[in-house]
Structures are given as structure tokens and as C-alpha cells.
């Protein structure tokens, strides 16, 4: 767990670097938005954000059930987290498809896709990790003595959420 | 500490200080000629730092050398040295000394930098003394548009907007603040004249205001200082510092000349390379064609 925390701290710096890049580009660009683009729509990303952020609470509930050794409670809330994460990814994919600009559209297009894409990869990695943990719960007695993998996955999920909140504020709210 | 060791230490330190001061004075001869006001400032700072550095290097190396020569264990001696684990006073002293030196060198450097103020007013913030240098030595008598320094892979072009003259050699009047505007057409380049001790990267998409004051007539090397690809090493030309009168004559004569293709080493080498039947190199960046200029210098001209 200590090692994983160290790793996440290090990973945070990559995101911070991208954020700094975004802020520098945005504050120094002369033509920030690509021609013909007015701005980003906020409403549906906000809904996706709400789903992702609430999944952090759901995963905590799942962990509590595991702590009380209620495996089915753990599995159902764990699965719910996965579904919520997938919904977020789906919404993200739909948004990408609907946008009128590509990643070559100046520094705005580049940083937008870089930030959301890099974060999306993390969401995907989180869902895969959750899938592995869910599978492991079916191995008899596997989680009897507590399982660090679950705690790490959960921590990772909170990390992905916090990053998204910052990202959402930077890209969608600060326009 | 006995009185005798104290005297020895003081004697050694003063001797070392004298030698270091002497080395510091020698450092002026390690530099190119001082052809700008900035060069004098930089060389003084360098001399000061060389003296301090010599004191540190000679002192520490001398101590180590003494140990190595006179404090060796004899062949079959397997005993340990004194179990001396530290000395708080000594450690505080040798933390404080570098700190003091750093503040000293830093402050001196800060003052020097401010007096140079080579970055023009376009976009730079001056803290402390504003362009003191310009007031000290020959502020430009008549306001004229800055000379445009245009860099590209791999040629230098100097455009004098007042007379609509393009040259591949930079001419500047002596004892006047030179005002330049640096631009690049492709990649990063660096404007560097060792005899002036000034340097500035040139960034495509930006126009950087740059200034300094040449104080010595002569012909000096101007080099590209930021690595710019295949023919980077050839991207050199000359700066000619001359009296105001000959500068104006040169400008007038150049203005009367038509634009002709200048000599360009990169372009010539590139043509020779692609004409070879067997290429022994890796992929190369195609240089821009030789620049068109009213006046052009030759690579073979001598410089100081």
C-alpha cells in the first residue's frame, strides 16, 4: 500500500504537468478556440461528472461490506461502481464523437484530447482493476483476511475522481 | 589550537588568497577581446568568481594532498584513526561560509545583470536599476528603428529598415547602444557574439528585443548558439564594429547595391552532398536557399 501511494503521488505529477501545460497554453494563446468553435457544452459532461464522483461513495460502501465480510453486498456495490465508471467512459466517447474539432486543432484541441484521453485511460485501468478484484472475490476464502488489492483499487478510483474534478473545472468551467 | 598552528593557518590562508587573486587577474586573458561594454562587466564578475573558486579549489585540494602524502597508514598498520565524529562549531562555520559567498556572488551577479540589461523593454520586466548601462555609455543620439536580425536554417540576415538594406554581415556603429530585433523563420537559433559576451535564443513566432553597446572597432565572429539541425556549425557570420562615419558610408554604399545571392556554406555543402553518388550520411534537413542581400561577407574574411 505504501508503495502504491508513492506511485500515485508520482502519477499525480504527470497530470499536474499536463494541467500546467493547459493553463500556459490557454493564458498565452491568441486564438484559443479553433475557428467555428464557440466553446464546450457543459450540461452532459456535468451529469457524467456527477456519476463518476458519486461512484467514489459507492465504492466506499462496497469496501464496508467487504470489511463486514458480506461478500454479496461487496460484489453488488463493486459492480455498481464498475457500471458507473463505464457510463462515464461511454458519455466521454459520445462527447468526443460529437465534437466539431480534432486533436490537431491548435493547442486547445491538443490539450483537450490529451487531458480527457489520458484521464479516460485511467478510468479504463480502474475498471479493469475492479474487474480483476471482482473475479478474485469468487476464489473461496480469498478475501477472508482482508485484501490489499481492493484497498489499492479503491484508492486509485478516488485518485481518478479527484483528478477529474480538477480537470472538469479547468476545461469545462473555466472557459 | 596553539598559537603556532594559528599563525601557520593565517599565513597559509593569506598566501592562498594572494595566489587566488593573481589567478583572478589572469582570467581576463582567457576571454576573447572586450568589444562591448557588457564584456567589461562580465569579465570583472568572472575574475571575481575565478579568484574565489581558486581559493576553494586550491585550499581543499591542498588539504587532501597533504593528507594523502603525509597521513598514510604504514604497510602493516591496521589500527584506526582517531574516532572523531564531528565538530558542531566547525560544521556551522562551513555551512555559513558558502552561504555568505553565495549571497555575495549572487548580489554581484544581480547588479551586473541589471547594468547590462540586454533584454530590450519589449516584454521584459526590469527590477532595480533601469537600463543604467544605456545612460553610462553612449545612448543612441537619434532614435532609429531596431536592426532586424533574421535567422533561419542556416543563414543570418540583417535588415536595416531605415535604409531598406539587407546584409549578411552585421555592421554596428561603435559606442552606441545597438538595438536589435531577433526573429527566426523555422527553429530555435541563438544570437551569440563571444567578443560582446551576449547571447539570446531566438524563438520562432516571437520578436525579441535585444540590446548591447559595442565599444571597440573590429571584425568579430557571430555564431548560432542554439543547436539548429544539420548545418548548425556553419551558421556563423561576422559583426563589424566601426566608427559612426564609416558605418553610415557602408550603409549608403550598401543601399546603392542590388540584391544578389550571398555566399552560404550550408547551401553549398548541401548541394555537394546530394550530388554525390553515394551518400554516407543520415537524413538531412534541406537548407533554405542562399539569402539575397545588398551586402554580403565572405566566410574567409578574417576575424578577431
Amino acid at each position: 500500500m505504501f508503495g502504491f501511494v508513492v506511485f500515485l503521488l508520482s502519477e499525480t505529477v504527470i497530470f499536474l504537468s499536463f494541467f500546467v501545460g493547459y493553463i500556459v497554453f490557454k493564458t498565452s494563446a491568441t486564438d484559443w478556440l479553433p475557428p467555428g468553435v464557440e466553446g464546450l457544452e457543459v450540461r452532459s459532461p456535468a451529469i457524467a461528472t456527477a456519476i463518476l464522483v458519486s461512484s467514489s461513495f459507492v465504492i466506499t460502501i462496497a469496501e464496508r461490506y467487504l470489511h463486514r465480510e458480506n461478500l454479496w453486498g461487496f460484489r453488488s456495490f463493486w459492480l455498481l461502481t464498475m457500471v458507473m465508471g463505464s457510463t462515464f467512459l461511454y458519455a466521454q466517447a459520445m462527447e468526443w464523437l460529437s465534437l466539431p474539432f480534432g486533436f490537431t486543432a491548435g493547442t486547445f484541441g491538443g490539450t483537450f484530447y490529451l487531458l480527457t484521453g489520458f484521464h479516460g485511460l485511467h478510468v479504463l485501468a480502474g475498471i479493469v482493476m475492479q474487474g480483476v478484484m471482482l473475479g478474485r472475490s469468487f476464489i473461496p476464502n480469498n478475501y477472508a483476511g482482508g485484501e490489499h488489492g481492493v484497498a489499492s483499487t479503491s484508492l486509485f478510483w478516488h485518485f481518478v475522481d479527484v483528478i477529474w474534478i480538477v480537470l472538469f473545472a479547468l476545461i469545462y468551467l473555466w472557459q | 589550537m596553539t598559537r603556532r598552528t594559528l599563525f601557520t593557518l593565517i599565513a597559509l590562508a593569506s598566501g592562498l588568497a594572494l595566489v587566488s587573486y593573481w589567478i583572478g587577474q589572469q582570467s581576463y586573458s582567457w576571454m576573447p577581446v572586450q568589444a562591448s561594454a557588457e564584456a567589461i562587466l562580465v569579465d570583472n564578475l568572472f575574475s571575481f568568481m575565478v579568484a574565489i573558486a581558486s581559493f576553494i579549489v586550491l585550499g581543499v585540494t591542498g588539504t587532501l594532498l597533504y593528507s594523502v602524502l603525509f597521513q598514510r597508514a604504514s604497510r602493516y598498520d591496521i589500527s584506526d584513526g582517531p574516532a572523531l565524529e564531528g565538530n558542531l562549531k566547525l560544521e556551522i562555520v562551513w555551512t555559513a561560509i558558502p552561504l555568505v559567498l553565495v549571497v555575495w556572488i549572487g548580489t554581484y551577479s544581480y547588479q551586473t545583470y541589471n547594468r547590462m540589461s540586454i533584454l530590450g523593454s519589449g516584454g521584459s520586466l526590469h527590477v532595480g536599476m533601469p537600463t543604467a548601462m544605456a545612460n553610462e555609455i553612449g545612448a543612441s543620439p537619434e532614435a532609429s528603428a531596431p536592426i532586424e536580425v533574421r535567422s533561419r536554417q542556416w543563414a543570418w540576415e540583417f535588415y536595416y529598415p531605415d535604409r531598406d538594406v539587407t546584409s549578411t554581415e552585421l555592421h554596428l556603429p561603435v559606442n552606441q547602444r545597438a538595438q536589435l530585433q531577433l526573429t527566426s523563420e523555422d527553429v530555435l537559433h541563438g544570437f551569440y557574439v563571444p567578443a560582446f559576451r551576449v547571447k539570446q535564443d531566438i524563438i520562432p513566432g516571437r520578436a525579441i528585443a535585444f540590446e548591447f553597446t559595442p565599444i571597440r572597432e573590429g571584425r568579430y565572429r557571430l555564431r548560432d548558439s542554439e543547436y539548429s539541425g544539420t548545418y548548425f556549425a556553419t551558421n556563423q557570420t561576422h559583426v563589424v564594429v566601426e566608427s559612426l562615419k564609416s558605418y553610415q558610408q557602408w550603409l549608403a554604399a550598401a543601399a546603392a547595391q542590388p540584391l544578389t545571392p550571398a555566399e552560404n556554406v550550408a547551401y553549398q555543402e548541401f548541394k555537394a552532398a546530394i550530388e554525390k553518388p553515394m551518400s554516407l550520411g543520415w537524413s538531412r534537413i534541406v537548407p533554405a536557399a542562399a539569402p539575397l542581400a545588398n551586402y554580403s561577407s565572405s566566410e574567409s574574411d578574417s576575424h578577431e
Binding site: 504537468s17 493547442t107 | 564578475l45 597521513q71 584513526g81 572523531l84 521584459s124 520562432p204 554516407l280
Partner: protein, 556 residues
């Protein structure tokens, strides 16, 4: 003192990872930190030789003013690959190997915290090594943009191919970054979590302190470089314009990303070498490390400062005045904790019973060269002077005094010092001293002339130069060839003594330290019983036991 504890450790029948009779295990996915350590060191040294050969071709080119030995494009590729190989394939893997080998032994652990991750991190090294070397074979040749890969030059792709030298370079550097981050997580966790009983922070050897400080830099610095490299990769491969001014990008931002890591990277290299100095001097001068707590903590101070100095590489870039002045002061501050270390080593050596063994010679030579690098470093921190010598040979001379003079000499000191422990054999002193003499003379002949050249205004990275620079360049080239030669007695020494050298006792230097309590080479899992540490790491002359003796433990 330590002899008593040696007998207390039971004889073990397990294989000894360093012994030459089981060399095959070095080609397996071993999770033993000692095997991985030696794997790292040997792989790194192989690349050191390649990087050195490239440098010798460069020195051959520079022996005359004209670009005549190799084509300019080849020269540009050579210096790019020389820098990249020496940093990413030699120094980092070598130091990771040294840390891997020594840290668990020094802190009384059986292995690293994550042995499998450790093996994965190592096996990435040959993988990205092959990718980097493959760039010599792709059409158009390897990257020619220098190891900084500054855009827009690094984005110019004359071949037009998607797979080009620059792309492979970026992939290799990114993989190297991932490998280093994994290694750093592992090493930091090991040091924080797996120290033997009684081994408090201020009983840790300075090498362990230094390694920890260095790896923390990897953790906060490398991600920034990775971020920059990813953005550059996208610019190059798919046409985004983060750093391409033609599309509105900012090439100077890349420089910030790059130097935010790549300046601290110098401390990643030099801190473990400081650790090596701090281990070698007390042993071979038979005195405790002078001011141990100051030396230990100064490493962490350097780590802290290293995060706020990077702009001194950009004093002549597109940076405003205030930034230049701010970073000038912060950079100069680094000399304070560094000075504390240098003075402490001098005081350690002073008045000792010095034995000029090969590791001691290399450590002393390294210290003297580091001192020189240090004072030129302070000069470079001074912005007005730096503006004159920035991107000239003065800088090249300065950092080669750091990276060759201090780091490579320190690396050799470490190899000789711990060679008996790693292999169970003694090296030959005569060859070792010959190696030292050639290295010290060669390094100074090679790198000193670069300072006057830089002061005179010779830019770095040039394949040709004005004739007035010829004199010093000839001397530098001669030094370069001597350096190349100097590796021969070393290789001869290591190979022959590894196979047939005199058997090494457990503690040939009568050194204090947990690693010297176990057999040479140490058994699998290092310690039959984890020792309990009862005193500090440098008790020379005070006759205190380092670990709790087996008898006294039994009596409790």
C-alpha cells in the same frame, strides 16, 4: 569487533548469486536483488562502452577544425546518441544496479519490497536499449536533435517516415522513465519499510540516505519529463501542435518540462555517488564520517532544492529577467548543502590512517574533479556570466567533470570497493592503479580544455569549428583516446579476477556495515537471521559493535 558476529551467522548451503559458477542465472528473470543488481551493472557497462566509442569517433572528428571524418548528419546523430546512452543506458541503470545490490544488504533486508516489480523494471532496460539502438538502422538514421530533443528541430522529420530515429528515441526514453519510476517506488518503499530492527534513520549509512534522496527526485521529476515526451511524441507522430510554433505551440514550454526533470536528474546521478564517497572515505581512511547527520540530511536538502533550479539551463532562452534572477539565487543555494558534504569528506580523510587502495584513489580523484565541477557550476549559476558561456564548451566541460570526473570515477570506486563482496574474489591492485592513473589523466586532458574553449566562444554540438580553437581540441581528443584505453585494464582486471582472483574474505576492508557481516558473495536472502542494529554506521576507532551479538541475545 565485527569478526565476532561473523562466526555467529550460520553457514548456508544456498547458491551465492555473485559467484561465477552459476553465471546462467544472470540471464534469467531472477527476483534476487543481488542478481538484478549485477544484471543492471553489467548491462549498463556494456552501454557505457558503446557510448564511449561514439564519443571517441566525435573526438576524432574534432581533432581537426573541418568536418572531415564523418558527415555532419552522422556527427549530429553521434552526439545525440552519446548523451542519451550515457544518461539513460549507463548512469541511471548502473546506479539503480548499485542501489539494488547494496540497499537491502545495508538495511538488513532479505530482498527489495517488490522483487517481481524489480525484475520487470530491470528487463525493461535491454528492451528500450534495443529500441534505442534500432534507431541506427531505420532509414534516415537515429535522432539528430541532441539529447534535449528541443522542438522544433526534433519535430523536423526529413525522411517523412512515421517510424524514424526521433520516434524510437522518444519511445525508448518514455520506457526508460517508466522503468525508473517503478524502480524508484520499489527502492523508496524498501528503505522506508524494510529496515532491520534498531536501524533508525540516523543509523542508516549515508549511501542509503543518498539513494533515497535521489529516488525521490525520480518520483517527482520523471513524470514531468514523461508528460513533455508524450506531448512531443504526439506532435511528431500525429500532428498536434503543443510545441510547434507553426501551429501556435510553445517550444519554450517543452524546455521547462524537460529541465524540470533533467536538471534534478543530475542529482539523481550525483547523490548516490556522494553516498559512495561517504562509504569509501571512512573505510580507507579508518575514521568515522565527519559530521554524519549533516552529511545525511544535506542529501534531502539537495533533493528539495533540486525542484526549484531548472531555469538556470534557460538563462539565454525565452525567459524574462525576473525568472533569470530568481533561479540564479536558488541555483547558487545548492552549493551550501554540497559544500557541507565536501568539507565533511575532507575532514574525514584528514588525520586518518589512509590506505591508497584503488577505490580510495578513485574516490579521491572523483572528489577533486567534483570540486572543480562545483566551482564552475557556481559560475554557471551566475546569469550574466552564463549568458556568455551558455551552450558553449564551458558547459560541456563543467558537466563532464560532474558526470565523468565525479560520477564515473565514483562508480569505479564503488565497483572496486564492493567487488570482493559481489563476486567473492579480490581484484588485482596493480591493474586497478593503472586503471586509475589512465582514467584520471585521460579525464582531465579530455575535459579541462573544454573550459578555455568555451570561454573563447566555441559553441557545443558543432561538427566543425574556427581554426583558432584547434589547439585545445587536439589535447581534448588525446585525452578522449586515453579514456577509451583506460577501460582495457579495467575490463581485464574485472574479468580475470572474477574468474580466478584470490578468494575474498567476508570483510576484506575491515569495514563496518551490515553488508560486510555476510559471506562474499552473500547468500540467497542475505541474512539467515535479520540482525539487530545497535550503533551508528561509522564507528571506526571506537570499538563498538554494530549489531547485537548472538550471545548477548541468547542471554536475554
Amino acid at each position: 569487533m565485527s569478526d565476532a558476529t561473523l562466526t555467529a551467522l550460520p553457514k548456508t548451503e544456498q547458491p551465492h548469486p555473485g559467484a561465477p559458477d552459476n553465471w546462467k542465472r544472470f540471464f534469467t528473470f531472477s527476483t534476487d536483488h543481488k542478481v538484478i543488481g549485477i544484471q543492471y551493472i553489467v548491462t549498463a557497462f556494456f552501454f557505457f562502452l558503446i557510448g564511449g566509442l561514439l564519443a571517441m569517433v566525435m573526438r576524432g572528428e574534432l581533432i581537426t577544425p573541418a568536418a572531415d571524418l564523418v558527415d555532419r548528419t552522422v556527427y549530429n546523430g553521434l552526439f545525440t546518441m552519446h548523451g542519451t546512452i550515457m544518461l539513460f543506458m549507463w548512469t541511471f541503470p548502473f546506479l539503480n544496479g548499485l542501489a539494488n545490490y547494496l540497499v537491502p544488504l545495508m538495511i538488513g533486508a532479505r530482498d527489495m519490497a517488490f522483487p517481481k516489480l524489480n525484475a520487470v523494471a530491470f528487463w525493461m532496460v535491454p528492451v528500450f536499449g534495443v529500441i534505442l539502438m534500432a534507431s541506427f538502422l531505420v532509414p534516415g538514421g537515429p535522432s539528430q536533435s541532441g539529447w534535449w530533443a528541443y522542438p522544433p528541430v526534433s519535430l523536423q522529420n526529413p525522411t517523412g517516415n512515421l517510424i524514424n530515429g526521433q520516434l524510437l528515441w522518444l519511445v525508448a526514453v518514455a520506457l526508460s522513465g517508466i522503468s525508473s519510476i517503478l524502480g524508484a517506488v520499489n527502492i523508496v518503499t524498501t528503505i522506508v519499510r524494510m529496515r532491520a530492527l534498531g536501524l533508525g534513520w540516523f543509523r542508516m549509512p549515508v549511501f542509503v540516505w543518498a539513494v533515497m534522496s535521489a529516488q525521490i527526485i525520480q518520483l517527482f521529476g520523471l513524470p514531468a519529463l514523461t508528460a513533455g515526451a508524450v506531448m512531443l511524441l504526439f506532435d511528431l507522430a500525429v500532428g498536434t501542435s503543443f510545441f510547434n510554433p507553426a501551429g501556435g505551440g510553445d517550444p519554450v514550454l517543452y524546455q521547462h518540462f524537460f529541465w524540470f526533470y533533467s536538471h534534478p536528474a543530475v542529482y539523481v546521478i550525483i547523490l548516490p555517488i556522494f553516498g559512495v564517497f561517504s562509504e569509501v572515505f571512512p573505510v580507507h581512511a579508518r575514521k568515522p564520517l565527519f559530521g554524519y547527520p549533516f552529511v545525511a540530511v544535506s542529501s534531502l536538502v539537495i533533493t528539495g532544492l533540486s525542484g526549484v533550479v531548472w531555469v538556470h539551463h534557460m538563462f539565454a532562452s525565452g525567459t524574462p529577467d525576473w525568472m533569470r534572477m530568481l533561479f540564479m539565487f536558488s541555483t547558487m543555494l545548492i552549493s551550501v548543502p554540497t559544500g557541507v558534504k565536501v568539507f565533511a569528506w575532507v575532514a574525514t580523510v584528514w588525520g586518518g590512517k589512509i590506505q591508497l587502495t584503488t577505490p580510495m584513489l578513485f574516490a579521491l580523484g572523483g572528489l577533486v574533479m567534483f570540486l572543480f565541477a562545483g566551482v564552475t557550476g557556481i559560475m554557471l549559476a551566475s546569469a550574466p556570466f552564463d549568458i556568455h558561456v551558455n551552450n558553449t564548451y564551458f558547459v560541456v566541460g563543467h558537466f563532464h567533470y560532474v558526470i565523468y570526473g565525479a560520477a564515473v570515477m565514483g562508480a569505479y570506486a564503488a565497483i572496486y570497493h564492493w567487488f570482493p563482496k559481489m563476486t567473492g574474489h579480490m581484484y588485482y591492485e596493480g591493474l586497478g592503479k593503472l586503471h586509475f592513473a589512465l582514467t584520471f589523466i585521460g579525464a582531465n586532458l579530455n575535459f579541462f580544455p573544454m573550459h578555455p574553449l568555451g570561454l573563447q566562444g566555441m559553441p557545443r554540438r558543432v561538427a566543425s569549428y574556427d581554426p583558432e580553437f584547434a589547439f585545445w581540441n587536439v589535447i581534448a581528443s588525446i585525452g578522449g583516446f586515453i579514456l577509451g584505453l583506460s577501460t582495457l585494464p579495467f575490463i581485464l582486471n574485472i574479468l580475470s579476477s572474477w574468474v580466478q582472483g584470490k578468494k575474498a574474505p567476508n570483510n576484506p576492508w575491515r569495514a563496518i556495515g551490515l553488508e560486510w557481516l555476510v559471506s562474499s558473495p552473500p547468500p540467497h536472502e542475505n541474512f539467515a537471521e535479520i540482525p539487530v542494529v545497535v550503533s551508528g554506521p561509522y564507528g571506526y576507532g571506537s570499538n563498538e559493535p554494530l549489531v547485537e551479538l548472538a550471545e548477548s541475545k541468547a542471554a536475554e
